[in-house]
């Protein structure tokens, strides 16, 4: 069976003061190969925890996580990760960063160079390949991060707010790039974001999570990602359904935030 399968995943850990945190409770979902899923939720809803478990950086306290039929027990090249920022290796050039995965695997130099060159063309950084990564702008750095992840040809790409630190214009361009890469490579992608618009644009499936304990609140299936491929994303945003969904989800998250605030105030009293 191909794809990612998550069954009854729970994550609970003890605190030094004797209490405990239920970061995730009974999360189950199946992701078919090639699906693009965005995850949205207020802070503390466990979305980053979920991503870290899928990446293999954290072990769940219960539940099963399988990729293409085998259990996930730790980090592996089959699950690539793109971080918000600062995860590039600043002691390496752009070319060396992108070629990191193949180098670790011991790919022959020629194959590696071909892969790197191809991906630098795809993300439009061919002219910058010998530059140090700290000489690039934030948007360019994230394009390097995307290329570095793709160079390894992973089955699943996990993105933890990859565009969170970019300015609005760069962010829009990068959203188009992510859609383009998704369509061209056919990778399974899970993308975490704080932006409702981004979640709508970059999710065939949109998962809204709720906090305390972290759980899946609602799941949507959306047409916008498909519409956005090869089209100006601003046109997609004009879609009447887009505004409706955006308001609905925003309202949902606002309610959750208010509930948290109310609960915290209640605890304080």
């Amino acid at each position: 069976m191909s794809g990612l399968s998550i069954q009854n995943l729970s994550m609970r850990f003890d605190l030094p003061n004797g209490g405990h945190v239920q970061a995730l409770q009974d999360v189950s979902l199946d992701l078919k190969a090639g699906e693009l899923m965005s995850v949205l939720g207020p802070s503390g809803c466990g979305k980053t925890t979920l991503l870290n478990i899928v990446a293999g950086f954290l072990a769940p306290t219960s539940g099963v996580l399988e990729l293409n039929g085998h259990r996930v027990t730790g980090p592996d090249a089959e699950r690539g990760m793109v971080f918000q920022q600062g995860a590039l290796f600043e002691w390496m050039s752009v070319r060396e960063n992108v070629g990191f995965g193949p180098s670790m695997k011991g790919t022959p130099k020629k194959d590696k160079d071909d892969t790197v060159n191809h991906l630098l063309d795809v993300v439009g950084l061919q002219d910058f390949k010998e530059k140090a990564v700290y000489e690039l702008s934030g948007g360019m750095q994230q394009r390097v991060a995307l290329a570095r992840c793709l160079a390894n040809d992973p089955d699943v790409i996990l993105m933890d707010e990859p565009l969170g630190a970019l300015d609005a214009l760069t962010r829009e361009k990068m959203q188009s790039l992510v859609l383009k890469l998704w369509k061209e490579t056919g990778k399974t992608i899970i993308l975490i974001t704080h932006s409702v618009e981004e979640a709508l644009l970059l999710g065939e499936r949109l998962l809204v999570m709720a906090p305390r304990p972290g759980r899946i609140h609602t799941e949507y299936r959306l047409p916008f990602a498909e519409l956005g491929v090869g089209q100006d994303l601003r046109e997609v945003k004009k879609h009447p359904e887009f505004a409706v969904k955006r308001e609905e989800i925003l309202g949902m998250i606002w309610d959750m935030e208010e509930e948290i605030m109310g609960r915290t105030e209640g605890e304080d009293a």
């Binding site: 990446a55 293999g56 950086f57 730790g74 980090p75 592996d76 090249a77 699950r79 690539g80 990760m81 971080f83 918000q84 600062g86 995860a87 590039l88 290796f89 600043e90 002691w91 990191f100 995965g101 670790m104 695997k105 140090a132 700290y134 570095r148 992840c149 390894n152 992973p154 996990l158």
Partner: protein, 421 residues
């Protein structure tokens, strides 16, 4: 006090002069358009003119107050009196009074000089002469050659016509004459404002001394051998310190057990000044090379261990995560992520450690050594060879500065990504 006032004067005058010149030739760069400069740290850059004038001023003052030949005469502070001066004394035993002249020849200290010959003159008090080294003073028993002396109840009653009694001083033009308790004139030629070379030699004397010691050596070793020994000890001590300290720091950064085991030792040894270890090291290892290198090893060890530890702990977890999910093994992460990520910290530590080692080696050589920069100035000071001491201090400073510059340059070359993560 006077040198200090001159220094402040030059500081203030130079400020206004440079400012006036700068205003005339002002370039309208971005910084000059800032209206708020007070409190804007980025607007405060070192004024290069001030730096140059500052250094020149130090040499100027040094030259002025040592009568340096490098400066034109009119810039010199008043020097000590040199040459021949005279004064008259009047001796009396109550009944008889006579006057005689004393000729004083003030000569450079390093030139052996006989008292000038003078005619005895008339009367029972005979004329005297004396040779006194510059900056020195001399008691002169003026009555010794007189027909009537102290034994006959004769005492000096007047100097240059001024009545004196024991304890009084009289200005005689080229200096002062003080009557001692026993009635002997003490001749003190004017010392001027310049420093005597045994306290502060002129700059050219120090430069000349560098040349002499560089060619002839000092205490059986040439200057380069002395400095070379010091540098050799620093380099070897630092090398072993880094060789042990860096892996130790890595182990402490990567393993709980190592961290727990070595934390108390490192945290205790870090604040112990290496200088405090000198006595113990001498007891254990003697004053030879072994002792020095052990001391410098200990000086560098903790600094390097702590630098390597914080370099490892400072790695962003997302970088390690990224490397893992790109398929890197533990060894590959160590080599391609943790080591390069910790290099900037290690270089900073190495710079600090080299500075500390250089200071420690000089101090250790001051205490006991056969060769070395510290030994050189220590031995020279015992013989009041101030020029060698100053030369040594300058060379030690220059080498310390050079080491730091070299480390900075190496850092720029080898870890250009420092602070860019």
């Amino acid at each position: 006090m006077i040198p200090f006032l001159i220094y402040v004067g030059i500081f203030v005058v130079a400020f206004f002069v440079v400012k006036a010149i700068a205003q005339r030739t002002a370039i309208a760069d971005y910084g000059s358009l800032k209206t708020v400069t007070f409190g804007d740290e980025s607007a405060v850059t070192p004024n290069r003119a001030a730096s140059i004038i500052s250094v020149l001023t130090i040499f100027l003052l040094w030259g002025m107050f040592t009568g340096s030949a490098l400066l034109p005469k009119f810039l010199h502070a008043p020097g000590p009196f040199m040459g021949t001066g005279t004064f008259e004394y009047t001796a009396s035993n109550g009944d008889e009074t006579d006057t005689a002249t004393v000729t004083v020849l003030v000569h450079p200290i390093d030139v052996e000089t006989e008292a000038p010959e003078v005619a005895a003159g008339d009367g029972w008090a005979k004329d005297d002469s004396v040779a006194i080294g510059v900056w020195r003073s001399g008691l002169l028993r003026v009555d010794r050659n007189d027909e009537l002396g102290r034994d006959e109840g004769v005492a000096v009653t007047e100097i240059n016509g001024t009545a004196v009694s024991p304890g009084d001083s009289v200005d005689v033009g080229f200096g002062t004459v003080t009557i001692s308790d026993k009635g002997t004139p003490n001749i003190i030629p004017a010392k001027g404002w310049q420093m005597e070379p045994i306290w502060l030699p002129a700059p050219e004397a120090v430069v000349q001394r560098i040349g002499e010691i560089a060619s002839a050596g000092f205490r059986g070793s040439t200057l380069w051998e002395h400095l070379g020994y010091s540098l050799f000890r620093v380099v070897v001590g630092f090398f072993f310190g880094a060789l042990v300290g860096i892996p130790l720091g890595y182990a402490m950064g990567l393993s709980n057990w190592f961290r727990g085991w070595f934390d108390p030792i490192v945290e205790f040894m870090r604040p112990v000044p290496p200088l405090a270890l000198i006595p113990l090291v001498i007891i254990w290892a003697g004053i030879g090379e072994t002792g020095k290198i052990i001391l410098l090893f200990l000086a560098a060890l903790w600094i390097m261990a702590i630098a390597a530890r914080s370099g490892v702990s400072g790695v962003k977890i997302s970088k390690v995560h990224a490397a893992y999910s790109l398929g890197a093994s533990k060894a590959q992460i160590m080599r391609h992520v943790i080591v390069p990520n910790s290099l900037p910290e290690i270089f900073t530590g190495a710079r600090v450690a080299m500075g500390v080692c250089w200071g420690t080696v000089v101090a250790a050589e001051l205490v006991a050594a056969e060769q070395g920069a510290g030994m050189m100035i220590m031995v020279a000071s015992k013989f009041q060879n101030t020029d060698i001491v100053i030369m040594g201090i300058i060379l030690i400073g220059v080498i310390g500065f050079g080491i730091d510059m070299l480390m900075r340059y190496a850092e720029k070359l080898l870890v250009p990504w420092k602070g860019k993560g």
